[in-house]
Symmetry: none
Subunit: 351 residues, 4 copies
């Protein structure tokens, strides 16, 4: 039964904080249609299975997700289910919840105002992790680093990080923080799955070894569902996420582009491998993500107890990922990030 | 009569703060079985004898000690026995009071949450001294120094320090604080007694002379009772601390190991010397600790008025510790920390 | 006639230094078989056509190129052709000229010893530009930045830069230099041509805007000859560079790989366009490179007066590169670097 | 035949410099009685076997060793045996070469004057590594760090390090250098052998992981000959080093003290193990030192071709050190450094 394997806790990068290797994301799952009681029960259920990290963002359902998380947290405290210190909460600032030129981006104004609004919605004094939800090339990095560090100094967050930033942007932010004696970013939230490996497995290598280090709270383990194999042959089931009219760009990316067609074929091979291992294609894809020790935690959504179980099965299935199985997966996808030949040559010369 | 000698107050290292050279520890003495009234009366009694420093930790009886100290402090204020400013209070963060991956250690999260929880239990706005109860090699030192300094900046503590840290760890923390313009640690709480002299008498020498200096709030003056001579000949009295089943490791350390057997013989010689001086073996061991001027304060536990008197007798007995007696003690224990010969030679060359 | 158009001089990034937009590279052209007189005459010829930057590296013909450049420079001074200040000279350190574990890489030892040996071969007191010829992941970046800055402080070079470094590496080096008050790198020497646009047109964008800025001394404008269209149809002429047995990896890269086959077809379309414009395919590819104002200078080799003329023709042909022609070229190669759609969307939001 | 195994080169800590894992020490081997020709031939012989690091100190034969090394280096350059860049040279400052209050220690005066005098004796512009030969508690660490860093900035050395410093002293020096933007120490030269493991295997652990890192150039692999087993049974052969009247303190340390007697018995067991492996006791002790990957290089003396061969045999014998043999050695000596039980417990709690 899923969850028979005890939860694994990993340090978030080089920090002293520990997060459960599977965590709970509220994107797409907590919204205006979610009854308050339902969201509470999901969080309790996840917590009882060992999940301690709950991920949120100001933009998720335009603040609704934060409201639901905050109410659930406080109810759990009131009902003696958990203490605040048992939980690791995050939010992410960038997209805002309202239109207006200053309700978006990483200006000092939006970072501080946005964070305070998030905390107000959550009815919390602080989050554990505060993320810049995207890079903002329209704001000087120094302004952003100063504002994020200010939030930590004000006690609004314990650590700060980035989401979907490049290695260059994180490197510069860490170095700037060092120069200015500010709190550096220590965690990045990238997309990571069998179809998207470059950043996590190659680009960030120097960041992991940097003085402040870099933890990873990764998302999209199933690549918008492609890795479930449910789109096999390019068929889009009715009611699935990719069937939605507003997701034309995802259909192009995952189903119809030449690269997508190739990928769907690879996923079919993955499904065969999964079958041999006696698990589902999704289960294999999930376990593969947490098999990478650079991944501090894998954020998964769940809208039912079954999905939660499916996600937790990754813990059970880790043991199936022998070196041989990992090699087979690399062979199927043929996308393991490598240094270009000329760079690899120079690196070898200096060993 | 003990206590006829007036209390001595010493600066805590290079700080402007003064602590009574004998102080009151709540470890093992304040717990869930201690009536609230009893703990109050002990503290009042100690205070009236000149003791101003009361030592505590989050982990002592899982928060119970803090609760008792805090209530006593507030009752004493209410009853006009003391003002808050008459007292020096401490607590120590590391081990937490509950299970859970983030309820232990020196992460920013546990330091800040733990300190706030401690203060809540104590119903105090601040402690005078906030200690890191152990080093945490799983957390970057910079994270810990920043979080401790944050607590000082937030007014949660006036000074911060360490307990059972190595000279290297304290040196690096002090230097980091200097580089980052943060509050450095200024006090260490080490074990110090006639059987354990290395850290206090040799390892920390450079720390005492460092810019922030290093005060000492030492504990275990009687080495878990060994220096009372009550385990003479390796006999463990029923009901004594070393008789408890869970203390097998202490029995090995203090009674049965080859080194322990040697030490017990030395203690018997100490007892003879004490007798010649007209005091008990414990009294001699206690006085010896505060004879070291590096010791800012000696933390002692007391569960009876008699013990409190015994502890206070150290003040009276200081005058017995003539150079000849001190030399005799050094001769008995033959463990005075010395630089290795080669280092000593080099140091002599530079005099 | 080529060269009738006057030379253009551009600032090297944000520095005050100006370099001719076409410059003279000694890689593959100055070697042990080059008569000293020939190399001198080439340099004089180039100089008379307005070229002021002569690029070199310790590894080019294992020091021979430096020797030839240095002799030519000094002869030109002696013969009154130029003053030293009329010239911008460079060398690059990394690969060394001899075997041995410390004769390679970016350790402090090799940077300083290598630079001194280069200057000795050149019989010069300094170069204008000193490059790290590759990144060295086996040496801490701080060691490299300190050593390069030391060379500037010692007067061995006026500016320093990098070659084939990633945006992240340059960002960190610039930021480190800022933190340590050292000279930052201000120029990068990347490969840049119609087949390789990512770094120059996308990756380095933030570097151009950084405080120290980033000049570019680009190389390989014809992609090892592919952009001359001489390999049309995958045919490799005898005696051409790609025909050499040791260049199997280049043949794979430029002729036989699936991507190469696609590229050769694109080049044929480019050749057609060039014909319409009345110039050769190479001439079009060369002009296209300097049409990018981020390019401070384009390094070209020349082993005959004809080649020098061909290179200089780029100045004449710049005017042919109308927006329409540039768009046509982009359409042919379909490789204009773009932000991924999701990033582009976020950037647009912040305009 | 020894030396059939190719030399291994290791990075010196985290630096970009590489040193041969076996290196050549001039202590006790180069002195006023060594003919200049002999010392040259030894160095050539060592170099031809792959040794690139030659260790020296101002105090070795009061400057004579430096004079001999320097002459040999320059003769080797003149005779085309090596280039300067092929060699890694060191010297160490502390003890001086003449009496006088300022000809000793780590004052700014002696560091700078002493280094210049060393270089004058060596007729070299610089050494690769400049060591503080001992700690100097009579000089503020900041003065020493500033003076050593000055020497690097002046080009008198490429890197600086320490010898026989404590972890605390190195930590503080590295942190001070960080705060003051100076060159940190990156290498320590400690005694390391089967009888002395504490510093290298436990005390320095945090230093290896520090930002500047810590390389090790270890000495005394045979513990003044004890590990050759030639003093078996406490018998001191005539003419051996321990027989010299001035070495009474070494006799006490290695032959007659209770601890020494125990150690000699252990060495006899080591000799038995060596015999089983088909090598000598010394050979086993030497190979054991370089089996520790923290050891950048092992400095050995040699006064004959035979000794040089014996030393080089360590490379051949590395393969004999299987996990089983290493475990057996640990069992014989029973001195593998361990955290005290209480510390180990706390560390385990935070995993």
């Amino acid at each position: 039964m899923p969850g028979s394997t005890p939860m694994i806790y990993r340090h978030l990068g080089k920090t002293g904080l520990k997060v459960s290797v599977l965590s709970f994301g509220t994107w797409l799952t907590f919204n205006s249609k979610t009854p308050e009681d339902t969201s509470y029960k999901f969080m309790v259920s996840a917590f009882k299975r060992g999940i301690n990290f709950f991920d949120c963002a100001e933009v998720y359902s335009r603040g609704e997700a934060e409201t639901l998380v905050g109410r659930a947290v406080n109810r759990g405290i009131a009902e003696g289910v958990w203490h605040r210190s048992d939980l690791v909460l995050s939010t992410k600032i960038f997209f805002g919840t309202r239109p207006g030129p200053n309700n978006i981006g990483l200006s000092r104004k939006h970072i501080i105002e946005g964070t305070r609004e998030s905390l107000a919605r959550m009815q919390q004094d602080y989050v554990d992790l505060l993320f810049c939800h995207r890079p903002d090339v329209a704001t000087p990095l120094e302004e952003t680093v100063r504002a994020m560090s200010f939030c930590v100094d004000q006690g609004l967050a314990f650590y700060w990080g980035t989401s979907e930033w490049s290695a260059e942007q994180i490197a510069e932010a860490q170095c700037l923080a060092d120069r200015l004696n500010l709190h550096p970013p220590v965690v990045e939230q990238p997309e990571y799955n069998l179809l998207k490996r470059q950043k996590v497995e190659l680009d960030y290598l120097a960041r992991y070894e940097s003085r402040p280090g870099l933890g990873l709270t990764v998302w999209s383990p199933l690549a918008s569902g492609v890795l479930t194999n449910k789109y096999a042959g390019g068929h889009i089931p009715e009611g699935s996420r990719l069937a939605a009219p507003e997701n034309a760009y995802l259909r192009e990316r995952y189903i119809t582009s030449p690269e997508a067609v190739e990928n769907l074929a690879k996923v079919e091979r993955l499904a065969t491998l999964a079958k041999e291992l006696g698990i589902s294609c999704s289960q294999l894809a999930l376990a593969w993500v947490i098999a990478n020790p650079r991944v501090s935690t894998l954020i998964t959504g769940a809208t039912s107890e079954e999905q939660l179980n499916e996600n937790l099965s990754a813990l059970d299935n880790l043991k199936l990922l022998t070196p041989e199985v990992m090699a087979k997966i690399d062979e199927i996808f043929a996308n393991k990030p490598q240094y270009p030949q000329s760079e690899a040559k120079v690196i070898a010369m200096r060993r």
